[in-house]
Symmetry: C2
């Protein structure tokens, strides 16, 4: 039986994966009078006078919303809010298990940027942070920017920044293993949606390497008339030679391939045209752009995927629990580029002696959340 | 130390009263693969094809949102969403403790009917039911009507209907105790906000008694130019003689006084002008319209309040846990007047021999939730 069949059976048995728990039993009339009326009135009055005190008297300081409109769920695409709910419940499990954070899945019957922004702004007082999830590009960029500008709690689109941070963490160690300097590396990023754009931006901020962005129609260049504004903005710092062409053209001589695209896109022949000891992050899910064995046999030095059954799993769960733990505990309301880089470096440093088979820590490593949280200051 | 002081200390110790709990531990890589990727993809695909299946595979079938904009919180008024949060967390505790329902507090930075309706519609897929709470009149009426019309999950404004149902339950038994027929009783309802309007409507539907509605400016009559449309609509079936005047005028000869107004409004002298063996429900919180001892000494036969430290506590917690338990379990999407009356009768019938000191069951009575839930069909 595969994981899908097991998941169907288990989800139906449990009827979902989350429940609400009470921090104290309501087993006496005294407790009813303290936790509800009349006692709670004093707490409400106190907070009404100074709303910032809410975090000291309610679950706000440990509570995050996992918000999705269901428009870009896993590899399944736009499957709507109900289809997204099991994934969001799963994400909430990860928040609780890894970081002790109480996370609530909020799925939206709202799809334009305006509707999503208005809804999240309206419910924001209920939460200490907002984790945006599986919202399609390019709307996701506008939604996050507007919410960050408006709200004074952390807003983090994990598909963008969680992915970008863990990719950077992995690359820092892969560069060490292969004796590279990222600053002078040539990097091809394939897939220019939420994750691809964020990876490109963060790599540029960190090391200004030479980057080519490639989508399903080829290299992003000034001659392309079919690209959205988010992709055109990438031309400010990618493809400085304004090269046209396909992935085959882009990959020649590249040091690093980063795929957030689709299964099987990278062939053995293509990897053979890359620089010596190349690095390949093939993160399409569930089937990567190239299978690790084929990559290895074609001369790739470090191969990473999104999968837990191969070495070097590039997994957002290395990042987001610690980011929110730190933001909540340290009252940090904006996750900046400096934070992202500090987190990537913190994660990379947990691997004391990186090897081709071990560039990122295991997701079950107990040191992860505290190491990440402490740089969110 | 009073309940308010104890509540401040205890809420700060606990930092809120709710937490998210996982229905299974995430302690193996196998479970990660079943509850999250890749296994969860099969569950999402299954639901995407048939969204109604969401209730069988997620926490929807046991999950309710407790939604407030903080505009009419307890006796405190418009204290805003943060001030409302401890009350909503408390309400969620009651949902869990009494009915095993996972309830999530959603406080809104949204105040017009349009904004509240748009927000709740947008987040509605996340929940199996919506409990509206502490939203001021007259907006609360429009918000509930529009949401009920649009959503296919139960929407219930507890301040209106929870109160109205428990008042009717209490009156059914108080009428027995005093040998009255509600159909021929003369009832004065003081306070014409969310609760008052709902009480008047439900009493009219149940028994068409003679009702006078009284607000802070006097009896609602056709001559009043200062009343909103919700109050004018009450003239279709209240005050048939179109009487003008004050509470003093209204109360003369009345069988029943129902107060959802403010402390001390009903004097001993006024109760002495009521019919023989009158019934007084003095539900202002925390201080009732008349204290039970004074009422008793002035000839009142049955006195009920909202307080747990006097007999006959008219408490919404007798109602809403069972209503939602029934609606969720029996797939009921609209709570109708027939449901409300059936619930009131079910609650009243749990008191086998009503007396002046015992017209409603104790909130801790184990029979309550199943008795209420089974009539929501």
């Amino acid at each position: 039986m595969d994981y899908g069949d097991k998941a169907l059976i288990r989800h139906k048995q449990l009827r979902g994966k989350l429940a609400v728990e009470l921090k104290d039993k309501l087993d006496t009339k005294e407790k009813l009078s303290i936790y509800y009326t009349p006692g709670v009135g004093a707490v409400s009055s106190h907070i009404a006078k100074n709303p910032k005190e809410a975090r000291n008297y309610t679950w706000l300081s440990n509570c995050v919303a996992v918000v999705s409109d269901g428009s870009a769920v896993l590899g399944l695409g736009d499957i709507g809010p109900y289809g997204a709910l099991p994934v969001m419940e799963g994400k909430c499990m990860l928040f609780k298990h890894f970081a002790g954070i109480d996370a609530v899945p909020i799925i939206l019957d709202a799809h334009s940027a305006d509707e999503i922004v208005a809804t999240v702004k309206a419910i924001a007082p209920s939460f200490g942070g907002i984790n945006l999830e599986d919202i399609a590009a390019p709307i996701c960029f506008e939604v996050e920017e507007r919410l960050k500008a408006h709200l004074n709690i952390p807003v983090f689109h994990d598909d963008q920044h969680g992915t970008a941070i863990v990719v950077l963490a992995g690359l820092i160690n892969a560069a060490k293993v292969t004796g590279r300097d990222l600053k002078s590396s040539r990097i091809v990023v394939v897939g220019v949606g939420a994750a691809g754009v964020a990876i490109i931006k963060l790599l540029n901020t960190y090391a200004s390497p030479e980057i080519l962005a490639v989508d399903s129609r080829g290299i992003i260049s000034s001659g392309r008339k079919d690209i959205n504004s988010e992709k055109s903005k990438l031309l400010e710092f990618t493809n400085k030679e304004d090269m046209d062409g396909s992935l085959e053209d882009a990959i020649k001589g590249a040091d690093i391939f980063i795929g957030v695209s689709k299964a099987g896109l990278l062939t053995s022949d293509m990897t053979k045209t890359m620089a010596k000891d190349p690095i390949v992050f093939a993160m399409a899910n569930p089937v990567p752009e190239i299978m690790p064995e084929i990559a290895k046999n074609s001369g790739v030095s470090v191969i990473a995927t999104g999968r837990s059954d191969f070495p070097n799993q590039v997994n957002n769960a290395l990042v987001f629990p610690g980011i929110f733990r730190g933001a909540l505990d340290n009252h940090v309301t904006k996750i900046t580029d400096e934070h992202k880089i500090a987190v990537a470096e913190a994660i990379a440093s947990l691997v004391e002696r990186p090897t081709t088979e071990m560039i990122v820590p295991n997701v079950l490593d107990d040191r992860l959340v505290p190491s990440v949280a402490k740089v969110i200051i």
